[in-house]
Symmetry: C2
Subunit: 212 residues, 2 copies
């Protein structure tokens, strides 16, 4: 195996933990003036690669530089919860026009549609919206629930699943994004999103943590 | 390192080469009733991982099961030419309406725009087309060269580059796809495309060739 080479931010995190451990993710984020969410992939990679140990309710310890972990182990340990982004949702009553505006405002490729209880009822892709927008209809007059993909035809994932599993679903179902959901008695609550951008980022972070 | 475990198709390829090598990629594809393009990622992975040796103008040999290669080596050896898809192009004079139809017909997220000599002059994303389609203009009347991203603002890649490099470009430039180009005296000829779907597929094939 080649020795692991870390990117600049991962080196900084390692220095902070060496000098200040045990230290929580929030405290590391504060010192770097970044959000906890931004650091999550780096912390996951450092922990998986054996540089850091994490203990619940205590924080991160420096574990010393072990030999690189097998690729299979590393990839199986890349979990949805460590790489997911915030979901962008709209209500089922909004118009197609407003949904398109929301998509540009948030700069996302997929919107999740929720009911009054904030439970998942549909998905809208850029492709769905483009198809509707070239029709001869008034986009202000069509509510999104007319054109969205509905349950049970929506592919979802859970935060404990591996990115490999979700990648397989994106490819097999030919979709660009899936909502991360939590099962509740009344339905599925949307808690995050995984997209092909997430997977591209993960591919890149994998190469950066194992650079030649 | 965990031992490499191959997916079903990779095992089939290995058996064919064991029994019939030296054998060309085309011949392997024929025996599996698949296209050469479909097999390319599997052949690349098998060669990179050391199961197969390839000799130009002769074909593939069985090389025996070596120990797994380092992740860094494997990822650096994942080249654009082994994973690229066919480009979908339109002329700069076609209307926005026709470009949208072409996008649905070919089921792609990005079109490359070429001039009369088939050289790259622009890129059209689903986002560009959606933005235009909610305007009050007649989509039949607007040629795509009015709304496309133009040279020199187009991010491209070459077939000899690594997927890691291209992933970095997709993330940093916040784009979904890049054209694979060949430099010619008169400009850039479009020979392929790499998208976030390509990278998601590559992530998946990487995990399949190194499964636990």
């Amino acid at each position: 195996m080649s020795p692991i080479e870390l990117n600049k931010r991962q080196e900084e995190i390692l220095q902070i933990v060496k000098n200040n451990g045990p230290i929580t993710g929030e405290q590391i984020a504060d010192r770097l003036s970044l959000t906890r969410a931004t650091l999550r992939p780096d912390l996951a990679i450092l922990t998986m690669a054996g540089f850091l140990d994490a203990r619940p309710r205590v924080g991160y310890f420096y574990a010393g530089k072990k030999s690189a972990q097998a690729l299979g182990d590393t990839m199986n340990n890349m979990k949805v919860k460590d790489f997911q982004s915030m979901p962008v949702v709209v209500r089922e009553s909004v118009s197609v026009y407003d949904a398109i505006c929301q998509m540009f405002l948030e700069d996302v490729g997929t919107l999740f549609v929720v009911d009054e209880q904030s439970l998942l009822v549909g998905v809208l892709s850029r492709k769905d919206l483009l198809r509707t927008s070239i029709g001869r209809q008034e986009l202000n007059q069509i509510p999104v629930h007319i054109i969205m993909t509905r349950m049970p035809n929506i592919t979802t994932c859970k935060k404990s699943e591996s990115l490999i599993e979700v990648s397989r679903r994106l490819i097999e179902q030919q979709i660009d994004a899936v909502p991360v959901v939590a099962e509740e008695p009344a339905g599925l609550r949307v808690t995050g999103r995984i997209t092909k951008t997430t997977i591209t980022r993960a591919f890149l972070s994998l190469s950066e943590s194992h650079e030649l």
